[in-house]
């Protein structure tokens, strides 16, 4: 079993196959950007992009991504050059505690790849599954708009 992780092919060891993808990424690959928030697919802190779609890695098993392409927040930047969404996040000073933000950013990236000029309603629809308890939603919205403008 293998999959593509941030552009590189990796095997899925048998002992990790049944493990939630989130743990496989964090504990086996050391990619700790995606976070455990609820383990039930309710909060979105664990969001990664699987074959172009924002998915909950806490309720996806490692075996489920066999032959798929998985992108995590660690794979967004091109070395020191941040992805436009990451830059927009810093320019809008979005994070407070920061814990949900990797998931927010991955949902935003997936949204903008599918819809480069989202309306306010499009943004809400795409982001309503990503909870932020600190209350950064207004800045998230502005950062998505900024990133959308930057890529026009």
């Amino acid at each position: 079993m293998s999959f593509v992780l941030n552009g590189e092919k990796h095997s899925i060891p048998a002992e990790w196959a049944d493990e939630p993808l989130l743990h496989f990424l964090r504990e086996h690959h050391g990619l700790v950007g995606a976070k455990f928030g609820c383990g039930r697919g309710e909060c979105g802190a664990c969001t990664v992009i699987i074959d172009g779609v924002a998915m909950r890695s806490c309720i996806t098993s490692a075996a489920d991504v066999e032959d798929s392409e998985v992108r995590t927040i660690e794979g967004l930047a091109d070395r020191e050059t941040l992805h436009p969404v990451q830059s927009a996040w810093l320019e809008e000073a979005v994070p407070q505690c920061g814990y949900c933000q990797a998931g927010q950013i991955m949902s935003a990236v997936a949204l903008l790849e599918e819809n480069p000029a989202p309306s306010d309603d499009d943004i809400s629809a795409a982001m309503d599954g990503n909870l932020c308890r600190c209350g950064t939603y207004q800045r998230i919205r502005k950062a998505i708009q900024r990133a959308a403008e930057a890529s026009v």
Binding site: D18, E19, E27, A34, G37, Y99, I105
Partner: protein, 690 residues
Amino acid sequence: MKRRTFLKVTGGSLVALFGTGAAVWSQMPVLPTRPAPDVQAAAGWISHNDGKYILTLPRIEMGQNITTSLKQIACTELGADWNAVEVKLHDTSMQKVRSTVGSESIQYFAEPLAQACAALRDALTNGKTVSDGERVDPRPIDELRSFKKGALGRQSPELVHGREIVTGKPLYAADIHRPGLVYGRVLRAPSSSEVTSKPKSWNINAARAVPGFLGVIEDCGPAIGKATGLGIVASRPGALSLIADALDIEWDVGSLPPQTDIQALIDVDKHLNSGPLPHTALEGVPEDGVWDIDLRVDLPFASHGQIEPRAAVAEWKEGQLKVWAGAQDAFFHRDFLADHFGVSQGDVTVQSCRIGGAFGGKVPCSAEAEAAALARAVQRPVKVQWTREQELTQAYHRPPSSHRVKARLEKGRVSDWDHQQVSSHVIFTPFAIPKWLQSGTDLAVGDPGTARGMETAYQFARSRAQYQLERLSVHTGAWRGLGAGPNMLTAETAMDEAARIAGIDPLDFRLVHISDPRLKTVLERVGSISNWQGSAVRKEGGKRYGRGIACGIYKQVSYAATVADIILDDEGEITITHMWCTHDCGRVFNADQVKAQCEGNLAWSIGMVLCAGLPVKDGRVVAEGFFHSPVPIMSQFPEMTIDLIESSEKPVGAGETAMISGPAAIANAVRSATGIRASRFPLEPKELAL
């Protein structure tokens, strides 16, 4: 007992207790036990080597971006580039500092840090260094560069940790990896933590059959409340839930009459029927007579809902323990762990990690002690991260509260005021103080955390506030703003109703009761930026538009006023369209991040009014996830306009202030749109439907 007296008694008796040694001290986390740091202590936070500085921050970073503001102060005083100062989070090898509670990082840490950095700058200019223990003489505050008017306020440098957050670098306790790391969990009975429980029997063979199973550990750390657990360890985190299921533990659960209806237990009217409530927050004596306003307000339990479930990594090496923790007081954790495991404080190091949200909830030593106990048993480093269900069932929550508030009008002003509340504990909780002391505080002291916000900023002729505390089988404790959120929601909805009965605009009505010029200013300013022209109602095509206002003073030091615009549809669904908030927390070092705190408080205000609740059945929490205990989502979020007062007053906290005005502004907008004065929160759309 009178309020002034109880504060004195509280301070004295607790100080006395802290003198009695580690065993007793370790049971008392939440109280402000350590003095604010002085310049001398601050000198130890900043070091210099060859043009580079290391700022070891004595505050935990949990979302206020206080790290950024304190680094701004350091850079300004040192005259150093942003990139020349590296920030490190402290561990317990540094001098003991105050716990990160109460939104006081700027209030108590800004000036000592500025003084220490200014002294280092001077020393370096003169070719000297400031060595440990050398005396630093504080200079007059107006000689501090970072305290000059406008010196910093408008700067917004890249957030400390911002780049790490957006690129997914390890920052939080659960991100720590150690060689040989394994994963642990401590299982506890599905019952109230106030009922004695322990594991009785379990199916070890079934557990062994789960791939990744490493062991069952009976000696798995201290009880939580009275719930003794059973530890499990696995080579992969996903195995833990499978092992827990396979074990099929039978629990020995003691009998305690279950509190089947907690909301009825704290029913304020039932308690008032049997006599006056025992604790006093305002000492006035209203005159007898008919009340013009007589409102009941009830709020349920609410969880903190921080996205990071508490986590810790623990590792023992040659009798010494190291713990990576995301907790609000690393020193309390160190002392607690040393005490529990019978080692010296010097043998325990707790490294602070960034916290993924705490809001008052990450004070007790729980996941940390569990990880340390399991690590000791298996002789390997262990990571413990609570499940969401553990967060909801084993942590403490905002207490439910039941309020009766009355006001009497005389010549267009409130003459008499009476706020009565029954709730549970916020500060003197089972987490904070032992059982024997709980009875003492219940009898004599009350709980100033529960009472916060019952004091009033208005000039009423006679005002009384009294409250009663019930010990509940669901643990309660500090939640953003402590009692101020619920108490001010209650008081500011009553004030709004009083304005309606007096027939006076609610903004003008508040103004005539205000003598504090700073409160007056925030109220007038929020009226001005929101173009306040009264809480007029408009109906259009089945939609009802409403507008509400509220204001207050938090902890007698910071000020906020909020206006909310809302729309209700015919089914009673509320859309908050815009919130304006004017905020005064004295001198501001990073305006953008103070605004972020206001946005956060308004988010919590929205949650309080629209969704915050926690299902409880037979005296225990039955929630498993965010679905049962919701927090606001993006589409519930309005546009927010935050307006900061530029001030040269003493800087104070901004992390909780807007909790005093946000909830009531929304509730008052609902009242204006519907004519319905809600008495229960969160609001039920069906009760507001056409």
